[in-house]
Amino acid sequence: MAGDIPILLARRIPWALLTIFLASILAFSIMYFAPGNPAEIILTQETGNEPTREAVLLFMNGHGLEQPFLKQYAAWMTNLFSGSLGISLRTGDPVLEEFTTRFPATFILAVTAMMLALVVGTSIGVLSAMRPHSPVDLFGNFIASMGTSIPSFWLALLLILIFSIHLDILPSFGYGGIQHLILPTMALGFLQISRILRITRESMLDALSEDYVFEAYAKGLREREVVVKHAFRNASVPVVTQAGLDIGTLLGGTVIIEQIFGWPGIGNFLLTSVMSRDYPVIAGFVLLIALIFVIVNILVDILYVCIDPRMKPGGNIHG
């Protein structure tokens, strides 16, 4: 199996690099051609008033914004190949510094929410599949319905109201110890819990009706062994797929959660940069997020091979 991974990487990496490149050029182009002048927007944000024409021209000349698109993009690419993602028009700091300052917070939040979703979602999903129509299954359905129907921002505010204002046991905002992580994680992970729960339940129901499961029981294996070692292993491929796809959703979902909980991640900063037409930040952040997303997808592919040997390169899925 270990020998299959280099083959898989050799196939995936060129496509991954192309994807990252296209994502960045697309982000840069869309922002450049979108209506709105970054100089005007940024100067207005700084003072709250419209800048004079003279001030706008000074800003544009100072940042090379009067140059045509291809020249600006070429300059950005030249910077990229020299290891720099440029300077933020809004803050004046290097884009890479802005990203590395904020990304750890987003990463912690997204990973914690995913861990919560995987633990709670798969646990309740497996239990629901094993005991259809039982109280546990009904509870699982309830959680799944709530997760898909409650907007995360509303849940966030509700959690603050209950745990911070009324019970006064958790902080309403901030970044620090584990106590600051609980509410944002719950708000962000709730939708993922419901998705993982549903897909786990459906996959487990399919797996538990397979012949090999009955055979395993017939051999006298304990239920725990049958469920965990046989059924769940086969049922986990779609769960892993869903979890991989949800990483993107989580990175996107952090925007509103970070804003509500004062969480210093990339989401809110990127949103503000989009509003300001801060091209270097948008292109740089998109490039880095695309890179992360591609890495996650490659890891998911490797995980497939580990879980199901039929998924290896050249493997026969129908074998």
Partner: protein, 528 residues
């Protein structure tokens, strides 16, 4: 098949574990929070919440830095903490500044002619060189230890006013740039002459300040400020109600406290809400060049057809003051606007529309002229405070007098582009406040060549009035220009966007600053 009962037990155990984790962490959080708010050894810490990083907002910096010159509540430039007086040469090219003595920066560097001259040179050659005022500087020289002389490349009437701008004229120490004393160095630390110095700063998260001169904080005055970033305005209200922060709404020049939350906070016995007007108006700018609103009778009609009292009472919880004139008449530069207010008079509005030839023809009761319906395009940039509810209200009010309003909500950048092209009849906008008043709206909107509003009201007579006001700086000249704009119904003023501060009852001594960007927390104390 026999079912083993380990599953429900495991599930129960999992639930218990998760619950226990939350409670444990909650208790840890509570103890941490208690630790946060405890006043150790009588050290008083004020926790302030703001919407953005400390380094990107002017207001919190005003506790660390002084501005080169100061302003009063009427936007007039006055001597401040750093400069005692100044004079200007007849040709408008040379300014001589007398510096106050005995002032030093937080790191001990003296405030004198050397550091003052360095500061202005750094402004003209370093990161602030794109500011118009600083781009005009040709030379800075030291006359004596406490006097400097600044020579401009060409006369610039707003030079002195620019030196009282908190955003670009807060004075930094020559040792706060890298390399120290270099004319184009980048700021690497926050060293000013203000009452508080920065002790710790974590980008995008927080900043901690300690009083620079502990003796000045004797008694019950706060010794420290802890600034925390909470981007969401509703979350900051929750944090205040939860007791996690002491004061909100002060660390931004926009009104960041949601109006609809004000009644709830005012009903909370532990919270005090205060408002301060800076003459900053929410207005609907009108296209006076093309389309239906190029007719002054229509501009007057839509102004008289809007019930501002009802709007403020029902939509803004009476947290704002209705605006009946193009600029607040409370200021000396608008003293002659009394008697010209845009009062609610729907009948007169209908008569004006009739006179202009717009008559009700169809069953929809929308007026028509030459087969064209009276439909106005109203652009609402996203992010403007209360914009959605106000837009719908205006739409419903104007429909009563036979005017149809098409609301077009656009992302602010896209809206700005449409504004530049003049593709609108009505455009929601927040106007200037002190210190931008009184010249801001005049130069930015109503002068035919200086501003960036190509289809706002312009004519040669108004240009002359504005140029006279800017040249003399006299209140009566500004007042004449504003009266002219008022009589031309150049815009539709809505309400005064007051700055709102909300703080815990234990916080005492908070006062608003003269400028919308100012913030002085040195007078605040916290009752035990």
């Amino acid at each position: 098949m026999k079912r083993i009962s380990f599953i429900p037990l495991r599930f129960l155990a999992l639930c218990c574990f998760v619950g226990a984790m939350i409670i444990t962490a909650g208790c840890l959080g509570q103890s941490a929070q208690t630790e946060d708010n405890v006043q150790e050894d009588n050290i008083q810490t004020l926790i302030v919440a703001g919407p953005a990083d400390f380094d990107s907002r002017i207001e919190m910096k005003m506790n660390v830095y002084d501005v080169f010159l100061d302003i009063n509540a009427n936007g007039k430039t006055i001597p401040g903490h750093l400069v005692s007086s100044w004079n200007e040469s007849d040709d408008g090219l040379t300014y001589t500044f007398q510096l106050n003595k005995g002032i030093e920066f937080h790191d001990g560097t003296q405030w004198n002619a050397s550091s003052a001259a360095w500061f202005l040179e750094w402004c003209s050659q370093g990161p602030r060189k794109n500011d118009i005022a600083f781009s005009k500087i040709s030379d800075v020289s030291e006359v004596d230890e406490h006097t400097i002389q600044v020579t401009l490349k060409e006369p610039y009437g707003a030079f002195i006013k620019s030196l009282s701008s908190e955003s670009n004229s807060h004075v930094i120490a020559p040792t706060s740039v890298e390399p120290a004393w270099s004319n184009d160095g980048e700021i690497v630390s926050f060293i000013g002459t203000g009452k508080f110095e920065v002790e710790n700063y974590v980008k995008a998260q927080s900043a901690e300040f300690v009083r620079h001169d502990p003796a000045s904080g004797e008694g019950t005055l706060i010794d420290r400020i802890s600034y925390r970033v909470i981007p969401d305005s509703y979350a900051s209200v929750s944090a205040l109600r939860a007791g996690d922060v002491d004061i909100i709404g002060v660390a931004d020049h926009h009104s960041t406290v949601p109006y609809e939350q004000i009644p709830q906070m005012m009903n909370d016995p532990d919270i005090i809400v205060e408002k301060q007007s800076y003459g900053r108006y929410q207005v609907v700018e009108l296209n006076c060049k093309e389309g239906a609103l190029s007719d002054i009778r229509l501009r007057e009609a839509i102004n008289l057809g809007l019930d501002r009292d009802k709007m403020v009472k029902e939509l803004l919880a009476s947290a704002a003051e209705p605006a009946y004139s193009v600029v607040s008449p409370a200021y000396p530069w608008a003293s002659n606007l009394a008697g010209t207010e845009y009062t609610y008079d729907p009948e007169k509005a209908k008569n004006l529309l009739d006179q202009a030839g717009w008559v009700v023809a169809g069953a929809d009761e929308i007026r028509e002229k030459d087969g064209q319906k009276l439909t106005l395009t109203y652009i609402v940039p996203q992010g403007e405070a209360n914009s959605d509810s106000i837009a719908v209200y205006i739409q419903s009010e104007l429909k009563k007098i036979g005017v149809e309003v098409d609301i077009l909500v656009l992302e602010s950048g896209a809206a700005g582009e449409e504004r530049q092209k003049g593709n609108y009849d009505m455009y929601l906008h927040h106007s200037w406040g002190v210190p931008g008043l009184p010249e801001g709206p005049l130069t930015g909107k109503y002068h035919s060549t200086w501003g960036s509003w190509p289809v706002s009201y312009h004519d040669a007579e108004l240009d002359q009035l504005i140029e006279t006001a800017i040249a003399t700086g006299a209140d009566e000249d500004y007042s004449a220009a504003y009266l002219y704009i008022q009589e031309k119904y150049a815009c539709m003023p809505l309400y005064d966007i007051e700055k709102i501060a909300a703080y815990r009852k234990a916080v005492k001594g908070f006062t608003f600053s003269a400028s919308i960007y100012g913030l002085d927390l040195s007078t605040v104390s916290i009752e035990p």
